[in-house]
């Protein structure tokens, strides 16, 4: 470690207890619904999570489960299982980990996901989600449904807000196609549950989702305050709330408390570390096996007021426009032509950034292919340099934590 980089006292927001309560309530709901014999669905990020609560479905998330296995050390064995089956090495870690857990559950960290009755794929981020839905459905011998969305371009939506994801416009042809696809999903879920969707419940859930989403948007805005109020160690788990639990009352309760905590810290001018030296942007799926890396950086005085991956998970829901809100969820720069990166970078100008640490997630085409254009735009628009670290999200063998720390220290020394 460089001589002038002393480790500092670390003051996180205190979200740990909130997450614990959130997961406790989430699991209690699952248990209760399983007892009632409600159907189990597997879902992916950027799917319309509100419908899980409208239909009282038991939900499981291969991505979140893979992250859980990565944090607990079983993902490497599961990835090896998938490779031995003939799946490509350079595929999504979430896929490789999940398929390993399906074929060799004894190697997976318990509790494993409940067996699905159906699977929902979505083109809201990547085709890999659709391919995963297909493969998982085949292995579990259950039906699946794919929600189609476009790969957004400037001429379809104009400019967009990187926090709320509200675009200038949505071209009617594409909007209607998405809405049809979402209505097809509702039909599919009605078929699975054997019940007509309750319009009242639909409205109620979207009202809760709207209130929650407003708080989440505020939280990611407040993170850009000076000094940076929170740690990415705790902010990174917001993706669970935004991707998978939006629409639930426990997500709302979490967001309200989380907002209060960050608001108070900002009001009192308290940062995650006493002496903030570098303000960094980060992007890429978090390396779930090595989350301590964020804390390490922060203790060195390098904080992260912006995590674009977390920001991408958040969007503004408007209860009186439920379908438009579900479509907006997919309007983010990771599902769009690269011109959209400029909108996002414009939005984080106020964060007064010094540099960026970008994670190239091996096997994830969506996040990895965008990394270098993003680095170039950050340089061009904000004049800041980027450090790119190869970091598969579930396979620590490719990313040595010590090597990453050395790279980061060297990078920090080059900053102003």
């Amino acid at each position: 470690m460089a001589i002038n980089m002393k480790m500092q006292e670390w003051n996180p927001l205190g979200y740990k207890a909130l997450y614990k309560e959130l997961f406790k309530r989430h699991l209690a709901r699952q248990e209760e619904l399983l007892k009632r014999g409600r159907p189990v669905g597997w879902f992916f990020s950027f799917h319309p999570s509100e419908l899980i609560y409208v239909f009282d479905l038991v939900s499981a998330f291969p991505e979140q489960y893979s992250a859980y296995c990565a944090a607990r050390g079983s993902s490497t064995d599961l990835i090896d299982v998938s490779l031995s089956m003939g799946y490509g090495h350079f595929l999504c870690d979430y896929f490789k980990t999940t398929i390993g857990s399906i074929v060799k559950p004894e190697k997976a960290t318990p509790p494993t996901m409940p067996k699905p009755d159906f699977i929902i794929g979505s083109r809201g981020l990547c085709i890999a989600h659709c391919e995963m839905a297909d493969v998982f459905a085949r292995f579990n011998k259950v039906p699946f449904y794919i929600v189609n969305y476009p790969y957004w371009t400037r001429y379809m939506i104009g400019r967009h807000d990187g926090f709320t994801k509200v675009p200038e416009k949505i071209d009617e042809t594409y909007f209607e196609y998405c809405v049809e696809s979402l209505k097809g999903l509702i039909d599919f879920l009605e078929g699975i549950t054997g019940e007509k969707m309750s319009e009242d419940k639909f409205k109620d859930v979207f009202r809760v989702a709207e209130d929650t989403s407003k708080l989440l948007v505020e939280i990611i805005h407040l993170m850009m305050s000076k000094p940076t109020p929170g740690s990415q160690r705790e902010i990174c788990d917001l993706v669970f709330v935004a991707f998978f639990a939006l629409g639930s009352t426990y997500a709302y309760d979490f967001a309200r408390e989380a907002y209060n905590l960050i608001r108070d810290k900002v009001k009192n001018g308290v940062g995650v570390v006493p002496n903030e030296r570098y303000r960094l942007l980060t992007f890429g799926i978090m390396p779930w096996h090595s989350l301590t890396l964020y804390e390490y950086c922060e203790r060195l005085g390098a904080t992260f007021p912006v995590n674009l991956y977390v920001n991408e998970s958040v969007h503004l829901v408007e209860a009186d426009k439920p379908f438009e809100s579900m479509v907006r969820r997919t309007i983010h720069f990771t599902n769009a032509d690269y011109e959209m990166i400029y909108d996002v970078v414009e939005g984080v100008k106020e964060a007064d950034l010094d540099g960026a640490i970008l994670f190239e997630n091996t096997g994830c085409r969506v996040t990895s292919m965008i990394i270098k254009p993003l680095a170039d735009i950050l340089e061009e628009e904000l004049g800041i340099p980027s450090l790119i670290i190869e970091a598969p999200q579930c396979d620590p063998r490719i990313m040595s934590l010590d090597r990453a720390k050395m790279q980061i220290e060297a990078f920090l020394e080059t900053l102003k």
Binding site: G86, F90, I127, E131, R138, F144, Y177, V366, S368, P373
Partner: protein, 387 residues
């Protein structure tokens, strides 16, 4: 072994038809494309088989499927992950080196994650006068078909605006006819591979197909028509040990196919996007050309990325491969899996499982191709399963 190989090559060369090399030279030198350009035609590069070339053709422009010729990718590797498929890296490399400066526009399609972002990366770093990404639905359904048809029409109008020419429905129908004729001729030539004494080897078939992406289809059709009879009358190849089907995606390195055949195999069929997958599937010649195009491009079984609702997408692909193998009476399969190919990464496991009755050799491919590395394995495979 070496002397036998030389002797095999000599025999094959003796009866060699010159058409494959002639067409292949168009691919390597871009001579035809540059000729069209000189004559005032606009050249539009496409990033996937699923871009309906008929639309570009009907507007008087020349569609050409982009396949990078760079053997190394040092510039592209600074812009794309190194583990990505060589198909994407080589196209970007060509673009960055200025080798694609003859293009007047680029058209992509949302057919897989790599190709979507390749379009964005390419247009971000290599500026073109015109670029468009066609929104292809992932699911085959009535609703998707309707949407895709509208999307194709939108693309036609965007391109016609750029080219400053009016879109004409009849001209599109005419282009569909030309492309269907192309497909019919390809089917005929491809059919000559399946005899007991195949009239054309796999490497030559690939050369013909690569020539086809570098030529206007009407010119290609004429060349093939002129040569077809003599090809049919040729003696055919007898001196092989093993009939092989080649499976893969955007593979186009003729040298590797030549190596396989020089070691005693004959490639009698394939499911490559760059060969049999490129021409398979006719377009209905009806009154609604956009609907007809949408139908063909959305339901092409040779392709790998669209699915019927609730039906596994791999089933169609495997069905297509099985049909090709049955037709060609191949005895073994060689899989050419680009190590970074997402499509084959997903599907390889299922394909190998479904075709487990056949001997299979799986070769992981990367650029630059190291022929020596593959030689031992191919030789051993042919010796194990050949006559």
């Amino acid at each position: 072994m070496c002397s036998k190989r030389i002797s095999n090559d000599a025999k094959r060369n003796k009866r060699k038809n010159t058409m494959p090399d002639h067409l292949y030279s168009f691919f390597l030198t871009k001579s035809k494309i540059l000729e069209y350009k000189k004559a005032g035609r606009k050249i539009i590069g496409t990033l996937c088989n699923s871009v309906p070339e008929e639309i570009i053709h009907s507007l008087g422009a020349v569609p050409t499927r982009l396949l990078g010729l760079s053997k190394t990718t040092e510039n592209a590797d600074l812009k794309l992950p190194r583990w990505l498929c060589s198909y994407a890296r080589r196209i970007l490399e060509d673009g960055l080196r200025g080798d694609l400066n003859y293009l007047d526009g680029v058209v992509g399609i949302t057919s897989d994650d790599t190709k979507m972002r390749l379009y964005s990366t390419y247009t971000f770093y290599v500026k073109n006068n015109f670029s468009y990404i066609i929104q292809m639905p992932y699911v085959r359904s009535e609703n998707s078909l309707k949407f895709f048809s509208m999307e194709l029409e939108r693309f036609a109008h965007k391109l016609s605006n750029h080219l400053l020419c009016d879109f004409n429905r009849d001209r599109l129908k005419e282009s569909i006819k030309i492309y269907n004729k192309f497909r019919l001729l390809c089917k005929e030539v491809c059919g000559l591979r399946v005899n007991d004494t195949p009239k054309i080897c796999g490497a030559d078939w690939m050369k013909i197909m690569l020539g086809s992406i570098s030529t206007l289809k009407e010119d290609f059709n004429k060349i093939v028509e002129d040569e077809l009879e003599s090809l049919k009358d040729s003696e055919g190849i007898k001196d092989y040990k093993l009939r092989v089907h080649i499976s893969g995606t955007d593979f186009y390195d003729v040298e590797l196919l030549q190596l396989i055949e020089s070691l005693g195999a004959i490639i009698v069929s394939d499911d490559l996007c760059t060969a049999t997958g490129y021409f398979s599937g006719f377009v209905n010649e009806g009154e609604e050309p956009f609907e007809d195009l949408a139908e063909r491009y959305l339901s092409c079984s040779a392709c790998t990325f669209t699915a019927h609702p609730n039906v596994s997408l791999i089933k169609d692909r495997i069905g297509f491969i099985k049909k090709e193998i049955e037709r060609s009476k191949a005895d073994a399969i060689i899989i050419l899996r680009d190590k970074g190919c997402e499509i084959y990464g997903w599907q390889c496991s299922s394909i190998m499982e479904e075709l487990q009755d056949f001997p299979i050799l799986l070769l992981d491919i990367d650029t630059p191709i190291s022929l020596e590395q593959y030689k031992t394995r191919i030789e051993a495979f042919i010796e194990s399963y050949g006559d």
